[in-house]
Symmetry: C2
């Protein structure tokens, strides 16, 4: 007796979250006896709360296959955290009500730590309400901060974008440094974990290669030591490339560049690169340029890592395989078997051990002087960016699919206001 | 009786200036009876002034061929303008002296408007000093502001980078706009000419597609009209993507974001995107993100336009062909024969007609409301980004060649201080 499945995408998007969607949808279609239809939430969990469901069975096989090449989130994503069950019980009950109305027996939620937490809570509440739903998280976060899994799909492609950009900017800087700019500062994502900052170091093949200085969110910014490091690089190479995490903090623990807050109460950052550039030009009297790629780094599907795309697809596939075998309150995690060659498989990780935990950069991944990475970090990071996975192009631009996203007719009488 | 040739790269680099170097060097090697060796200037014209010449004959054929895939400037570039002959006669005489000492009969200078001006002046002075040198400019500028030529090599690849980035950021924004950021502002290069800003519009296939608002340097910024345009886009699409030229000016003619000056006395810009984002979040009360790709956009060889790479190579090839036929004080220019399919050939353009002229965006390329482009602009721009020209990859990153750059022994007694 088959049931419908619910699938939704959550949190900041990535170059490959749609590859996970592709893995879920293609696999679900292979098990019609278990999964009748996959109904997708429009804009993540909000689609479930507002009963705004998308009938994915209306999308062609070609359109589903093309998701493997498309950035963004094909069904829409959201920043919307459900909160504690005790305080927001009505939200969880509403979810279970909608799922019951649409005969949903499987819940797949594709996101980072907050989303795994939601998935876990839905599994608890649905069981408690005697309407048990098989709940499986699908990992995704460019921040790479999910625990247990070797890496988080989305990170490898951002890492490849960043390391490529550092290398290209360094060729630019080297060519011009004699009479023009000598310092280039690249600001990268990562509020608390320095994975993206560390990935920039993959651009270097030799010690003299860019990036010369990394500023991690895990290490308190020390102006004097930093300027000495930059000065030393300038003396040795006549140019200096710096990668700085948006989340770098001063010794007082405050973000160097603090901004407004996002919907989850996280600080919305951006703009530390110009600050660092101004510091250098003022104190070291040399010309600086800076770049803030912002969304370009997490949505740069044109330079995605093939390894990352494969992993993103595979966790989607594995989520469905686990689900039809009745495994619930779990998330498929990537397990590393070897570094060189990079071999990995999928294991089952309990959501209880994942929800709301952040995996920071281990201290032994950061070099002694705190401005670079260690060989251990390089061994970990290097395989994640390997392989190119070019999207198709049309008229010189990547051709990214857009789904029809036809809504399923509503079955419940009451509307639901997500502000409530 | 063969002579040596001098080749140098000048001004801001691009993703494809080395493809022009490849065209020059490979072609010169095919004419040993005319051109003995190509000596490259280290860091542009500075290499000639300081007699710091690179013996390119020591580079392997493979290394030269690999230049077609490498960003930056393989021999170094510079921002160094020679100025008027009447005021800086010593510089020009020094150049001719160095060229005489190294038996240089051909001068190839690869750059934008300032470089074409230098090339023209060298041709005049060398003739006047009874040591006539065949002087041929090789066009290059991501700003696309050289006159006569259909486009400037370097621009097509930057255009492709920008249009791709706009499209990818738009997929990101669309996925998240319901609960998160609604406006994305991308700052693009182009001090005076809005070519790069216009190229962003290639990302759109339909009227509803990003970018929704362009801010050109040719159009004075009008806050009220701009905010009304953004508001209207938000009402229609619930998100809005804006591409803003670094050179956008207020109604008083001053740059919105003015910075320090570069070596040519040009204002060094950057940072108008955060300013626009702040304006929108303050006045329209919605969340904005902004990106400043800076050097990433002009050195993004990984997303180069195949058309641009071909044109860059071809102008290098043509420069040598013209030179060995004795044509001097000219520049190979690209002539458009048809838009669809895009067909072009190379014609001879006199440097006198090129030097120090800037080709701005024609008014009929800007839409009536001044926030978009016309069909004429689209017809012009579309072919320039067509085709992909992927570099080789190693360990997941583009493998960009580095030459040995062995110096030719000095022949002159006097050193030369470029500060003088």
């Amino acid at each position: 007796m088959s049931k419908n499945a619910f699938y939704a995408q959550s949190g900041g998007v990535s170059a490959v979250i749609n590859a996970s969607a592709c893995g879920v949808l293609e696999t679900a279609r292979r098990y019609p006896n278990s999964i009748a239809k996959v109904l997708a939430g429009r804009d993540g969990i909000i689609g479930a709360l507002t009963e705004d469901l998308i009938d994915t069975s209306l999308e062609s096989e070609d359109a589903i296959a093309a998701l493997k090449h498309a950035p963004g989130a094909a069904f829409g994503s959201c920043r919307y955290k459900l909160g504690a069950v005790t305080e927001h019980r009505a939200l969880y009950e509403r979810l279970v009500e909608v799922f019951k109305a649409h005969d949903i027996g499987y819940f797949f939620y594709n996101g980072g730590g907050d989303s795994q937490d939601t998935t876990y809570k839905v599994s608890l509440v649905s069981t408690e309400l005697s309407n048990p739903i098989v709940c499986v998280g699908v990992p995704k976060t460019v921040d790479n901060d999910l625990p247990i899994t070797d890496c988080s799909p989305g990170f490898g492609s951002m890492a490849k974008y960043l390391a490529t950009s550092v290398r290209e900017a360094a060729f630019d800087l080297m060519a011009m440094s004699r009479t023009s700019t000598k310092v280039f500062v690249l600001e990268v994502m990562g509020r608390h974990a320095g994975w993206a900052t560390a990935a920039c170091a993959l651009a270097a093949e030799d010690e003299s290669d860019a990036p010369h200085v990394l500023l991690f969110p895990e290490i308190a910014f020390d102006e004097e030591r930093f300027l000495a490091k930059v000065k030393s690089a300038l003396e040795r190479y006549d140019h200096c490339v710096i990668a700085v995490s948006e989340g770098v903090k001063g010794s007082n623990g405050a973000f160097l560049s603090a901004g407004s807050e996002d919907a989850f109460g996280h600080a919305q950052l951006g703009g530390v690169a110009p600050l660092i550039a101004r510091l250098i030009s003022t104190k070291l009297h040399c010309r600086c340029h800076w770049a803030v790629p912002d969304y370009l780094q997490r949505s740069g599907r044109h330079i995605a890592s093939e390894t990352d795309v494969e992993q993103a697809y595979t966790v989607g596939w594995a989520a469905v395989e686990f689900a039809i075998n009745g495994r619930s309150a779990i998330m498929p995690a990537i397990r590393r078997i070897s570094d060189i060659p990079y071999r990995w498989d999928i294991v089952e990780a309990p959501l209880a051990a994942i929800a709301n935990k952040e995996k920071l950069l281990p201290r032994d991944f950061i070099s002694d002087d705190e401005f670079g990475i260690t060989e251990a970090a390089r061994r970990y990071l290097a395989p994640l960016i390997v392989g190119e996975s070019y999207p198709p192009y049309r008229h010189g631009l990547p051709a990214y699919v857009r789904l029809q996203n036809v809504a399923v007719p509503r079955k419940l009488a009451e509307a639901f206001d997500i502000q409530s």
